[in-house]
Symmetry: C2
Subunit: 219 residues, 2 copies
Amino acid sequence: MTQLQRRRIPDAAVARLPVYLQILNNLLATKVSRFSSDELAALAGVNAAKVRKDLSYLGSYGTRGVGYEVTYLIHQIKRELGLMREWNVVVVGAGNLGCALAKFGGFTPRGFPVVGICDNDPKKIGQAVGQLTVFDVRNLQKVVSEFDVTIGAITTSTTSAQAAADALVDAGITSILNFAPIVLATPSSVSVRNVDLGVELQILSYYEQMRSEQHAPVG
Amino acid sequence: MTQLQRRRIPDAAVARLPVYLQILNNLLATKVSRFSSDELAALAGVNAAKVRKDLSYLGSYGTRGVGYEVTYLIHQIKRELGLMREWNVVVVGAGNLGCALAKFGGFTPRGFPVVGICDNDPKKIGQAVGQLTVFDVRNLQKVVSEFDVTIGAITTSTTSAQAAADALVDAGITSILNFAPIVLATPSSVSVRNVDLGVELQILSYYEQMRSEQHAPVG
DNA sequence: ATGCCCTAGTGCAGAATTTCACAAACTCGC
DNA sequence: GCGAGTTTGTGAAATTCTGCACTAGGGCAT
């Protein structure tokens, strides 16, 4: 490696940058041109020192006594997150969720166009989903290289999810967004992020129960 | 408070318990009756010591030299997460996602039945969504108390999300699952969990970019 | 019964993250 | 130009989380 390849940003901070970006885009829409770490902290629901530290990983882009420039910060966060280019997404699994993702155009403006959707069910292959046509998962590799796809979204049933992951990895995908409630086995070189509503609900349930026990504590 | 209200489980561990539970349910389905921390760790993709420590927060339910009993552990995790009862969910926002959630029956068997869906659009109110009928968001409070709802899912547009949150809080909801890409302002007594696919994609994008820069490092 | 083997449970050290607190530095008014 | 008022950037402390490494203790073969 040439050097420390780049100033490494802590994982916890990386997960917050998209939230800041979202807020800054909203500020931009309301014609705000400057903000302080205190303001952003309030909007993001975090500590102001954390905001400053997070932003300092990008470089020193604030002005003491003044604050940060909205447009400039947006640019810097985008650069750091790799949002200066588009990242093509392919969906595996043409069920309700998969089709909803494919039809939902909301990711294209944010830099993540869904360029394909596939399935292994012959009845689904060939069907139209929004602008796309469901293709055979066996052609995944071809589509991935043709469209230069880097991100795969798994929206299959739980039972097919691991096979879908294997297919994506074989096809050369290195980032996976997994909606199936299962822990995927993948090479360590592949990034996986899980979105499992059941897990989220259960976490809420825990804290909900905590509260109710606090009010009516019984042994 | 009577006492330390209960042995408090670290947040990081709480977030992993649902994952363990998922895996244990799968083990149960494959007739496995016992497991070791090593096995569960491999399936969950974490360290074995972490598994043991996480499970130890529930109590000492393992047997040294042997391992843990699947059914017993499932019971204990469910108890701790508050899954011995059902938690009714109401959906605010009858768009694509909201309707999908309402129709998707997959949460009922996991203890989170969707008992209602509402909207503020007169054109949507009264329409059927699966077994349910879209009701007016102004009747939220009535529905919440009538069905003893504790969790609200926000699937509105970004612009309506804060109003939806306010309505849920006013109606007495204390847990919110938010799908809108916005940081909600809520009382600290309310738990909020955000599910934002844009954020997830951007996090993937960051690590994807890191990898590509590592391979072709240019200043 | 005894001893070996295995695995849970856990103290502790190290890593990661959060938060504090303050110096550095910029703007503005005079 | 200078001082007052702000707000960033960041060492350092505090907290939380992780993972090692070892102890405790149950099962099983003999």
